[in-house]
């Protein structure tokens, strides 16, 4: 019988000879900032994955291999950890990641209607990316904004007290260049 499981490497890895995804600067930062904080290299795996995701928007398979090599962890163990956490994207995602809270408080205040509106407007289902690669829509667990439900995150920016009307306003107002869209209060570095 044939093997029907997807071969992720084939879909994700760019051709050989391309520059490393885990850049020298990242390695330097990991070495200088993170290694001294922990007694093992393995402990730096999550920060390294965060860093890759922040830099590339998602974590290609090749990057997992590079991290594994850098930290001395086997590919299986890197995937073991990376695929466990919901936050790590092992598939490409849109420039704008829309995360709608599906928590109970938000549901009571109509988060479903909000999600439906986004689906309709962007013509995508949850977990999908629009054809132009601009938006990815997902639902996630509580954002801790229950007092001002329903809430959603677009990249790092929190939107609250949402209504279907407000959705149109927010989505239409997003700049073409996602890098210009940053919450001034958030600092990841």
């Amino acid at each position: 019988m044939a093997w029907p499981a997807e071969d992720r490497r084939a879909t994700a890895v760019p051709k050989d000879g391309e520059p490393p995804l885990l850049t020298d600067e990242m390695k330097k930062e990991l070495t200088e900032k993170y290694f001294p904080r922990y007694p093992t290299r393995r402990a730096v795996l999550l920060p390294a994955l965060h860093m890759l995701q922040h830099h590339h928007g998602w974590i290609p398979m090749r990057a997992l291999a590079e991290v594994g090599e850098f930290l001395g962890i086997s590919p299986a163990e890197v995937l073991d950890t990376a695929s466990f956490y919901e936050e790590y994207w092992l598939k490409p995602k849109g420039k704008y990641l829309i995360q709608v809270c599906r928590s109970l408080a938000c549901e009571i205040y109509g988060s479903k209607r909000v999600t439906e509106q986004i689906k309709k407007k962007l013509n995508v289902e949850c977990g999908e990316t629009t054809r132009d690669g601009k938006f990815t829509l997902v639902e996630l667990e509580c954002l801790g904004s229950c007092g001002t439900a329903p809430a959603m995150l677009i990249n790092d920016v929190l939107f609250e007290d949402l209504t279907p009307q407000k959705i149109n306003q927010v989505l239409d107002g997003l700049p073409e260049d996602a890098h210009k869209f940053r919450d001034p209060t958030v600092d990841w570095q």
Partner: protein
């Protein structure tokens, strides 16, 4: 000496003395009480995930997993109380319902008495004849059939992670892992590649620990339940490590080989010992053959032996080469035949390498795995003594320092904390100037680095290959006394052969007797002589160049002893009965000696081989 403290516990009303630090499951097992468990395996670190071993422990609010719960004095345990059994049944139902366990198609499946599946066995034991939960087999669970020797069927996987833990903790190969989480959890290889394309080295440890039919051996599947086969403890003759094996045979056929958990290799085997031995072999030689009109023609033993004896009598000098795969007894008879019958000293080994043995305290295999500093000088254990290579990697995982001294690249280089050249640890030099340089500079750094690393360690082990200069050996001898040494011998029984004075060497004589047993040329060409007798189990390039070919036993038919890298004498027990027309080597030699005119006695041979041990 103070007696080890004892922890007294009661299991199912029976008083048991346990050792501190033991788990409830271990203590019960020692007392002969079996607590059912699926994720637990005596040779893997427990993780308490299958929840089948949950037992009732007095004063504990909830049921506790016996496989992880430590014993404490006065503990009262009920393993089969109504509560424990009820929850165990429910958990078993859950496991059955999770994936498509269509037992009737599985090679492990059988009756209550004959099943080899640990899950099914528990199903019978607890009287499960159905499960109430919604079935989940609608999902198309993949089957990975990309590996040569075994198949992974995810539908039969119960996610006990024994395979993953075996790959990490025993083989230290880290190929297998788990991906995703919750109900999406699946076993995967590397970064989710096909098993066949992964970094798997086919050690097969995962296969040996799988409790269900999820990992299936291609060769032995459907060829007999455990109750129908014979399981014999034996020694692997694949290389000089001499791993303990359990051979699974039926109807005089070798179906499968498993690692012996109680032997020095602790259950681990390499692809050679586990899989290659059951792979199809070249054509077996059943009868003697004599070259007639340029062709090898089958003939009777008597004719072939008489013909060969005549040739040997005529020859001025007869040379002999033996395979180091042969047991001591065969090698002893061979050497004796040359010395006593043919009056020739031109006898040696086909190939092999046996480094000097007395560099210091000898190490056993377990010392390697438990070491905190391993020095590998020459040799390439990942290639030549694979199981030792895995033991080194296991030690590396436990933070041992690895030092590789070699002029050529080896598979262990990427693990090395320190990489040195052979000349760095040598007193030797070609010119006085070189010698001076080595003595004062290179040697100074190399040897002192080596010394410092070894001195800082508590359980240092030095693994060394052959063919080194005496000055390197001298440097090794000078290391601190706490170092244990393990020679990286090439050639399965080269150590035994060496004790008989048989070493690889060029031999002279116009007639040549090559005793290869079940060895195969692998590209090696025999020296050309006027007359060549090859005694071999299989047809090969060697037999094709011979004038007379005699049949030989294969390893699984031979009886005797071998000496492994630890210097231990290991019994080679016959697992299979040889074909009627194939005889033991010593028997052939006795017959041959009679025809030459000097009757060698069986006692003489056995005296020599006994002296080896």
């Amino acid at each position: 000496m103070v007696a080890a403290p004892v922890v007294n516990i009661t299991v199912n009303g029976k008083a048991i003395s346990a050792r501190p630090g033991q788990t409830v499951l271990q203590a019960a097992a020692d007392a002969g009480i079996e607590i059912p468990a699926l994720c637990n395996h005596p040779h893997l670190r427990p993780e308490g995930s299958c929840r089948v071993c949950l037992v009732e422990i007095e004063k504990q609010r909830t049921l506790q997993p016996a496989c992880t719960f430590p014993v404490a004095d006065g503990m009262v345990v009920q393993t089969e109380s109504a509560k424990a059994v009820e929850s165990r049944k429910m958990v078993l139902q859950m496991i059955f319902s999770e994936r498509s366990h269509y037992c009737m198609y599985c090679q492990m499946s059988g009756t209550a008495q004959s099943t080899d599946c640990e899950l099914q066995k528990l199903g019978y034991r607890y009287g499960l004849n159905h499960w109430s939960y919604g079935p989940n087999y609608a999902k198309n669970w993949p089957i990975d059939a990309t590996r040569t020797h075994f198949v992974m069927d995810h539908a039969r996987c119960i996610l006990c992670r024994r395979c993953v833990r075996a790959c990490q903790q025993i083989a230290a190969n880290h190929t297998l892992g788990v991906q995703q989480r919750g109900f999406k959890t699946m076993i995967c290889a590397d970064d989710n590649v096909q098993f066949g394309e992964s970094s798997c080295v086919s050690c097969g440890t995962c296969l040996q620990v799988c409790p269900t039919g999820a990992l299936a051996d291609r060769r032995s599947a459907y060829r007999g339940h455990e109750s129908e086969v014979t399981r014999t403890k034996a020694v692997c003759l694949g290389c000089s490590v001499g791993c303990g094996i359990e051979a699974i045979t039926r109807d005089n056929q070798l179906l499968r080989v498993e690692g012996d958990w109680k032997a020095g290799n602790e259950g681990m085997l390499c692809s050679v010992g586990r899989f290659d031995v059951v792979e199809p072999k070249p054509v077996r030689i059943m009868w003697p053959m004599v070259r007639t009109d340029g062709r090898l023609v089958e003939t009777s033993w008597d004719k072939a032996l008489t013909f060969a004896a005549g040739k040997f009598r005529q020859a001025h000098r007869v040379a002999g080469l033996a395979s180091p795969r042969l047991p001591n007894e065969a090698l002893a008879a061979f050497a004796c035949f040359f010395h006593e019958v043919l009056m020739s000293n031109e006898v040696g080994l086909l190939y092999g390498e046996d480094p000097p043995l007395e560099l210091g305290q000898p190490a056993v295999l377990h010392d390697v795995a438990a070491s905190d500093c391993i020095v590998i000088i020459a040799g390439n254990p990942m290639k030549q003594q694979k199981v030792v290579g895995h033991l080194i990697k296991r030690a590396y995982d436990n933070d041992a320092r690895i030092i590789v001294v070699n002029d050529r690249p080896t598979e262990l280089d990427s693990y090395a904390h320190l990489r040195l050249q052979l000349q760095d640890v040598s007193y030797h030099g070609e010119s006085p100037f070189e010698q001076l340089k080595n003595t004062y500079h290179l040697r100074g750094t190399g040897v002192s680095q080596l010394k410092a690393a070894v001195e800082a360690a508590q359980r240092p082990v030095v693994l060394y290959g052959g063919g080194l200069t005496t000055t390197v050996y001298a440097a090794l001898r000078a290391l601190p006394a706490k170092v244990h040494f393990l020679p990286l011998i090439n050639g399965t029984n080269a150590a035994g052969a060496a004790r008989l004075g048989l070493r690889p060497r060029p031999v002279h004589g116009e007639a040549l007797y090559v005793m290869v047993g079940d060895d195969l040329p692998d590209g090696m060409v025999l020296p050309h002589r006027q007359f060549t007798l090859v005694q071999s189990a299989y047809r090969s390039a060697w037999t094709e160049s011979a004038d007379v070919v005699l049949p030989a036993m294969i390893w699984a038919e031979m009886k005797g002893h071998m000496i492994n890298i630890e210097g231990r004498s290991l019994p080679v027990a016959p697992l299979l009965v040889a074909p009627k027309s194939v005889h033991a080597c010593w028997e052939t030699l006795l017959q041959l000696s009679m025809r030459i005119g000097y009757s060698l006695s069986f006692d003489e041979i056995s005296d020599i081989s006994k002296a080896v041990v």
